[in-house]
Structures are given as C-alpha cells and as structure tokens.
C-alpha cells in the first residue's frame, strides 16, 4: 500500500443512516456544521421515520440525513444520487437503495458487527444487501463501528454516531479541531463528561479513518469574505418572524411545522413576543386573528391537516379584512399522508380551500434563505391590504440546512407604537377606495371608531346587510385588493433564454433542482429555460407573454398527476398537477406537467431526463410501477 489516495472533488453527496434513536441525525448535523465552518456550500435533507421508536433493524426505521457539500455556495437543492453512504446497519442502507437515491458506484461504509451477529437473519440480510451493493457497482468498506466504540463507552448506542463524525472528517479530509469545537457546541447543555466522551470518540473515528481508508476525498471550499449562516428553513422562519416584527405566534403542534415554534418559544420573549400553544388548530388561528384585530401582528404556523381545520377562520379574516399571516409547512397528503416528507399538495387548498369566494394572497418560499425574508413581505402585505396572507413552505425547506449570506439585521425597520388617536365619529370601518378596495382599519381603543366588524356580509358602515347590491359590492371590494397588489408585482425572472423549445415552471422549493437541471441541459445544447412563481395569488403579470415564446410549457411539481400512459386516461379525464391546473385556467394555454410524489425532493438528474424525454416526444411518463409487497425482515421486537 502506497499511503492513502486523496481525491479532489467539486462536490459530494453523503447519506448517513442508522436506526431511529441511534444518533445518525446528530452525527450528520455535526458533520454538516464542520463542512459549513470550513466554508463549503451546503444543503441537507433529513431522512426521518414518522414514528419515534419504529421497530429497529428495518428499512422503516432508517433515520439520518443527506448532506450535499460543494466547493461553491449557495447550494440550492439536494442534488442527485448519493456518492457515499455511511450506514449503521444493512436495513438502513437498503432503505436508501429502495428510495432510489444512491449512485450505482457509491462508496458504502457499514458497521461490520452484523457479519457475525447472534441473530441468523441479520447475518443473512447483511450478506445479501452487501452483495446487492457490490453487484450494482458499489464499493463496500466494512468498519468496526460498534467494536471500536465499545473501547470507549459501555453503551455503543450512545457514541457510535460520534465515532462516525470522526470517520467522516477523515474521509473528507476535514480538520478534526473544527469537529471538536462543533461537538462541544452540539452537546453544550450536557455535562462535561458527555462532551469529553463525544470528542474522544470523534478523535478515535478520525484516527481509524486516517489509518484505514485507502481513498479519501477533498471538497475544497472557495474562500469568501461574505459572512454566512447555516440554518434550516423552520429556524429561518422563526428568525424571520422576529425580524419582521411579529408580536405573537399562536400554534398547535403538527409535523413538520412545529420546530419553527420551538425556536420561537426559545427566543421570542426576548423580543417582546411569545408563542401561544392553543387547544387546537382552530383556536390557534382564532387567537392570532383576535390579536391582529386588537392591533398586534400575529401569525399561525401549521401543516396540511391543520390548514383544513383553519379554513373557517380564514374566511373570517377575509370577510372582516383582518390582517393575518398563516404559514403552511406542507407535507405529504391527503389526510395524515406522509407527515415527515415533502409534497406540494396544499397549493389548491391554500388558493381555494376557504368556503365562499375568499380572495387572499398566497406566496411560497423557494429556498431556506427566502424563509427568513418572506415573513417581512407577508406581514407588510397583510397590514397594508387588510388581507389574509398564506405563506407556503414544505418539509424539505423545514428540516434541510442551507448555507446563505448572513442577513443584515441592522436594516430591521423601527416599529411605530400602536396609533390609538381619536377618529371622527362618522369614520367608516370599511371606507373602501372604489378603485383598489383598500381601506384603513380601526383599532379598538381609538375613540370615535366604535363599531362592530362581522362575519356577515356588510357595507361600508360595517352593518350587516343582505341585499344583492351590497353583497356584490362587498365581494368586488375584497377582490379588487388582489388586482391592486398584482399591479405592484414584477414578472418572474427567466432562468435561461427568454425563448426556446421548453419552459419549465415551478414554485416553492423545487426551484434549485429545476434550475440546476436547466443548466445541465443547456450545457448539452438543449433549448430549455425555467421560471419560479413566488406569488401564486395574485399570479405575477406577464405569464402569458413569457409562455408564448416557448414551443412547450410544462410545470414541474411534487404533486400527483395522472400519467398519459395510465389506463382510462384521456385528455378529458386526466388530472393535472396542481400548478398546471392553476396556470391552464389563468392563461388558457396547453400546459403540461411533470408531477410526481416520491416523498423526497426532486433530483436535478430526474428533471434532466424528463427534459430530454419531452424534447424527444416521449414526455410525461412518470414511472408508476407497482411496488412489491415484500415480507418485512425479522425484527427483535416483533
């Protein structure tokens, strides 16, 4: 052996998986921080089961993280197939192959304890899975993860993950001193002995890696003077809510939205706000609406099932023109669906879910960085237009980490105190401007402004009325606000050329993967461009003009759509992806969709494949192969 080989890469994707509770998540978060501190561009995605303690040693128990690290920043999406997998057992590893996220020639590091384990079925499945990996072209390195960890601690369940951090630092040629700092930070609330043990294990893993890995990688970071931060989208939402000047977050626990409230609960009171955990989703929005009516700005954070419960209050916000911001961190649906995984299936619900005609603003964050800024915009629109603003995020943004330019908090606007000055006795609660529908709102405490706001149809006086003329007028005034807002929006920026063979249209967090796919295609000489729609209601101006310069327009979305090849599917019966549905109605053009629901973010390569299929005239075929119901492998707690 002529010493280890150091291979230089511009980027690499590594997945770290264990049984739930074995700490692969913590290992991955720690390693991601090491990479971030080294200056690497970064995007991470959680691999997370829906249960806290699923049966161990099954594919369903796999828990961990995918990290895409790059020499460049920002990284805008999860990337393609994983180059490296570090697995604590073969079932966790198998789950990644089943998810179709691992490259054929991947490097697999796996704990070797299962090779000679007491349980025969484990030995067997370990052999079989490793054989499968090798057959498909992968390289397997068996690592004595458990054995080495046992040299330092009695319970390897609590420590293997730190050994793994050290091993990854060796594999990616990272500075172990940075890892020590990071680990001390990760365990800062624990006793010193816990920190010392964790550091010792990481150093042991690092040492093992240096001595035993024949090939090691280096993903150098391009140096930059721009200060950066790394956080997940829910943290960015929480920080953004504080910066935007919100006073109250009223919520009810729901995956994957809740962690934003965890962050807010910890920090909000230092800024004069607080989190109210209500008795249910309905009360959560009701409390926010009441606070907003009384003059403070409030938001509520939820996910799909919670959105469903909030619809009546959404209507009340619209009808009474009480400003309100709702954040919907989307997950897979319908019903409980895939609570920890991504889908974009709440778009139509956000737009049209409220009974009655209920015009409202719907906007979406497309990156973790945008999660920070979007609430300032949402709050401003809600207050200036007296409107309900729904902000859509998703499970990918919520739990993924991204490195982005540190926001300049010194620009946070000063907030004026509540204006409770008297108004003339005849001031109307809905003094609509007949052009724009806009009106000034009265705040309780303002002398002269006493009057009722009601969920019933009402006139400019706020009085309930039932006649057709004033019903028509009320609808018109509430609707015109959207048209007025649309006037202030810019047409979406086009990624690529403003004309060509194919235009991809996306919204939300698929932006990075779509643009990366477009870049790859354009390098191959394919005439394709893309846009990302930030405002879903009102839609931005200029869409029809943009669409008309392309031979074909197609949405790319994490939603279900019938495949053209499916039995019974015709032009009349096909259900399109939700964005395609909206756009077809808005521009009266034939817009196709590449829509599927894999429960994970889209990879640029799969979009690239679809681009090629489309231009070869074979598009739209989303693989809908029937899953095979395989017997679950033996578990220890059957």
């Amino acid at each position: 052996m002529s010493g280890p080989r150091l291979v230089r890469l511009s980027e690499s994707i590594v997945e770290i998986v264990s049984d739930a509770g074995e700490g692969a998540q913590k290992a991955a978060v720690s390693f991601a921080q090491v990479c971030a501190k080294a200056g690497n561009g970064l995007w991470t995605v959680e691999i997370i089961p829906s249960e806290i303690q699923p049966p161990p040693h099954t594919t369903g128990s796999a828990s961990g993280n995918r990290i895409r690290l790059s020499e460049k920043s920002p990284v805008t999406n999860v990337g393609n197939l994983a180059d490296v997998v570090l697995a604590f057992n073969e079932m966790a590893l198998l789950s990644r192959y089943e998810a179709g996220t691992v490259a054929d020639d991947a490097l697999v590091l796996i704990d070797d304890q299962w090779a000679e384990h007491d349980i025969e079925s484990y030995r067997k499945s370990y052999r079989e899975v490793l054989e499968m990996v090798r057959k498909s072209g992968g390289t397997v390195i068996e690592v004595p993860l458990e054995k080495e960890t046992l040299k330092h601690v009695d319970n390897p369940q609590r420590g293997k993950n730190m050994f793994a951090v050290g091993l990854l630092c060796a594999l990616y040629n990272k500075d172990i001193e940075i890892a020590k700092e990071v680990i001390a930070g990760v365990f800062k609330k624990k006793k010193q002995i816990v920190i010392d043990t964790a550091v010792k294990l990481a150093v042991a893993g690092f040492q093992y890696g240096l001595e035993n890995l024949e090939t090691r990688f280096e993903v150098p970071a391009i140096p930059t003077d721009v200060p950066k931060v790394a956080m997940n989208g829910n943290t960015a939402l929480a920080m953004g809510a504080v910066a935007a000047g919100f006073d109250l977050c009223s919520m009810y626990p729901i995956t994957p939205a809740t962690s934003a409230s965890h962050v807010l609960s910890e920090i909000f009171e230092d800024f004069g706000g607080f989190v109210h955990q209500a008795e249910d989703e309905i009360a959560a929005i009701g409390v926010a609406l009441g606070a907003s009516y009384a003059g403070k700005t409030a938001l509520t954070i939820t996910s799909g099932p919670g959105m469903a419960l909030k619809t009546e209050f959404q209507g009340l916000s619209v009808m009474t023109e009480t400003p309100l911001v709702i954040v919907d961190v989307q997950r897979g649906g319908p019903s409980t669906g895939l609570p920890t995984k991504i889908e974009q299936g709440d778009l139509l619900h956000a737009l049209y879910g409220t009974p009655g005609d209920a015009p409202k603003v719907v906007m979406a964050a497309s990156t973790i960085e945008e999660c920070y800024y979007i609430l300032s915009v949402a709050k401003k629109i809600a207050e200036e237009f007296r409107m309900l603003v729904i902000v859509l995020s998703d499970a990918n943004l919520a739990t993924g980490q991204q490195l982005f330019t540190r926001p300049d908090v010194s620009k946070t606007p000063r907030r004026p105190p509540l204006d409770l000055s008297p108004v003339p006795e005849d001031t109307l609660p809905y003094d609509w401007d007949s052009q724009t529908g806009l009106s000034n709102r009265l705040i309780p405490g303002q002398p002269g402004g006493m009057g009722v706001i009601t969920s019933l149809n009402h006139d400019r006086n706020g009085k309930a009325c039932y006649d057709s003329e004033r019903n028509q007028r009320g609808h018109q005034m509430r609707s015109r606000k959207l048209a007025a807002l649309q006037q202030s929006l810019n047409p979406p920026a086009i990624h690529g050329e403003p004309e060509g063979d194919l235009l991809l249209v996306g919204w939300g967090s698929t932006k990075g993967a779509i643009e990366e796919a477009v870049d790859m295609a354009r390098e191959e000489g394919i005439s394709v461009s893309s846009i990302n729609i930030q405002f879903l209601s009102p839609l931005p101006p200029g869409l029809k003009k943009i669409f008309s310069r392309f031979k074909k327009v197609m949405t790319v979305e994490l939603n279900y759509s019938d495949d053209w090849d499916d039995p019974l599917i015709t032009e009349e019966s096909r259900r399109y992806g939700q964005l395609a549905w909206v756009l077809r109605a808005a521009v009266l053009m034939d817009i196709d969709c590449y829509a599927k629901v894999p429960g994970r973010p889209l990879m640029p390569v799969e979009i690239l494949d679809e681009i090629k299929n489309q231009l070869n005239g074979k598009g739209g075929a989303v693989s809908g192969k029937e899953p095979i119901d395989e017997p679950q492998p033996a578990t220890t707690n059957s």
């Binding site: 920090i267 009171e269 403070k296 009340l316 010194s410 946070t412 002398p447 402004g449 009722v452 969920s455």
Partner: protein, 317 residues
C-alpha cells in the same frame, strides 16, 4: 354612598361621565319577549355605572341570536363565527391587556361547537366577562336540540322527543382546573342579573355567567315558562350576589361559601332546584395574559437589533 348620590356626583363633577345612550347602537332586532333584550340593557347599565369609555371595550360573540349583541352595544365589537368567540377573545386579551373584553355566546355556541375552547378558556383564565345566554335550544337555525335541552323535548331534530339527558354546564366549569368565577342568574330576575353582571365585571379573571332565559318563539316552555314554575335556590353570602327580599318569593335562600371549592362542587352538581348566585369565586388567580406578558417585554430598537444580531451569531459559520 347611595347610588343616586353617586350618579349626581358623576354627572356634576366628572367631565367624562357617560350616559346610557353612549352604549347604545342600533335598535335590537331580537324577537319580542326574548331574554337577550334584558341582558343587553343590563350590560349597558353596568357599563354606565362603571363609567367605562366605550372605545376601551371589545365585545366578542360567535353565531346565534345572542351573538348579535355586539351589533347593539356601542363598543368595539367582533361578531365572529360559530363557537369561536373565546379564541378571538383570548387573542384580544393577549395583545391588549388594556382592553375590557365581554363575550356573549349561546348554549349551542359555547357548550357544543365551542366546547373545547370553553374548557380551555376557563383554564387560561383570561380576564373577560363571559356570558352564556342559555335558552336550551338552537333558535336562529329554527329549533334544533341543544346540549341543555331537557330530555323528551320535541325539536325539529328530535321530533319524538330528545333522548339524552341535558348537560349541566355549571358542573363542568366548576370542575375545570383554574376556574376563578362561576355564577348563574336568569333574565326573569332583572335585579339579580344586574348584580351578577356587575360582580362579573369587577372580577379579574374569566367570569363565567350562565344566564337562563327562554326563547319566546321556539322554546317558550324553557325553565318553567321563563321562571314561572322553575325551582331555584338563592346562594347567600355577604360577598355573593345580594338577594333582594322580593326574590325569596321565587325560591329559598341557602348559605353558601363561594370561596370553598368543595362547597362549590357540591352546589354545582345540583340542577333541581337550580342554584342561583355566585357559585365559585377565587379572586387571587393570575390571568393568562398576566403570566405571559410579564416575560415578554419589548426592548428598545437598539437592544432589539443587538439581540437579533447575537442570535444570528449562533448560526454563523
């Protein structure tokens, strides 16, 4: 000091003294003989007596006949949606502890569709006067069975007579953790109603008042045809609701210590005769808004920026 002298003093000395008209808005559109009229008048009298600035009062309601009350009271009013008056009120109090909040709901509104909010609002103990106008029927939707409808009552959804025992809402509230004020009164006892709302107004915390009243259109037989034939017991205590001698024609008085939760639970369990007066009172419990707001003090702009910047350091790489 007698109230007449006090009123004369108010009118001659105070510049901001309010008249009843200051609290009157539209002419109510309730049916003739509806108890809601009495509750509205009583509220207006209590507000005038306390000389409240109407702009500092928010009246919140749900949906139903009684929930139209904010339209007829000249304060800030929020006529919301069915069952959800209490979450809105909680939001108002959390945002603006300087505002006085009145909540009016019906029996279906509070005990049925808003049941979860009702229980939790009692536990939060927000500072609000919460009036449930209980006529034992869904009236605005035209006579459906409500949680308090007597067993056997024919309604449009129980044409052969309602089959379930009615709920005892007083028992539910007194059994709820953190309860601080529970009273029961009736619209056919106007002086008792005034005194009860007055005591509820003075209490710091959630004052839960169940007001018994009949619906002259759909439930005229409620409560023994509006009290004519309805057995009651008046709870007597020097800190409770005064029992004017005329009331004793309606039912006997019974000594009761409303500060004692065991006595209150025992009284709350009885429905026949119905206990009238202050059933439970604990004036010393902190309100939810006091608890929450004390930790959340908005810093000046510079401190705000510095804190946000320090927070950002946590995520700096």
């Amino acid at each position: 000091m007698s109230s007449i002298i006090q009123e004369c003093l108010d009118e001659s000395c105070a510049i901001h003294s309010h008249t009843l008209e200051d609290y009157q808005s539209e002419i109510p559109r309730w049916c003739k003989g509806c108890g809601d009229h009495g509750v509205l008048a009583s509220l207006q009298r209590v507000m005038r007596k306390n000389n409240v600035d109407p702009e500092n009062v928010v009246t919140v309601s749900g949906i139903g006949c009684s929930s139209r009350l904010p339209h007829y009271l000249k304060t800030y009013g929020f006529h919301g949606i069915h069952g959800r008056a209490l979450p809105i009120s909680t939001g108002v109090r959390l945002a603006r502890p300087d505002l006085k909040v009145i909540v009016t709901m019906g029996d279906g509104d509070c005990f049925s569709i808003g049941g979860n909010h009702w229980l939790h609002a009692v536990r939060y103990n927000i500072n609000a006067v919460v009036l449930v106008l209980d006529n034992e029927i869904y009236a605005l939707t035209k006579m459906q069975v409500s949680p308090t409808t007597p067993v056997g009552q024919r309604t449009n959804t129980t044409p052969r007579g309602s089959s379930l025992q009615p709920m005892n809402p007083i028992g539910v509230v007194v059994g709820m953790t953190n309860v601080s004020f529970v009273a029961q009164t009736a619209t056919w006892l106007p002086a008792h109603l005034d005194e009860t709302i007055e005591r509820a107004w003075e209490h710091k915390g959630l004052s839960f008042v169940r007001i018994l009243q009949r619906c002259p259109v759909f439930m005229p037989e409620a409560y023994g045809e509006g009290g004519l034939n309805f057995p009651v017991t008046f709870l007597e205590n020097e800190d409770g609701i005064p029992i004017h001698p005329g009331l004793l024609k309606r039912g006997p008085a019974q000594a009761h210590n409303q500060r004692n939760i065991d006595q209150a639970l025992s009284v709350a369990a009885k429905v026949d005769p119905a206990p009238m007066g202050l059933i439970y009172h604990n004036p010393d419990l902190p309100t939810y808004e006091e608890i929450r707001v004390q930790h959340a003090k908005r810093p000046d702009h510079e401190t705000f920026i510095n804190r946000l910047d320090n927070l950002m350091d946590r995520y700096a790489v």
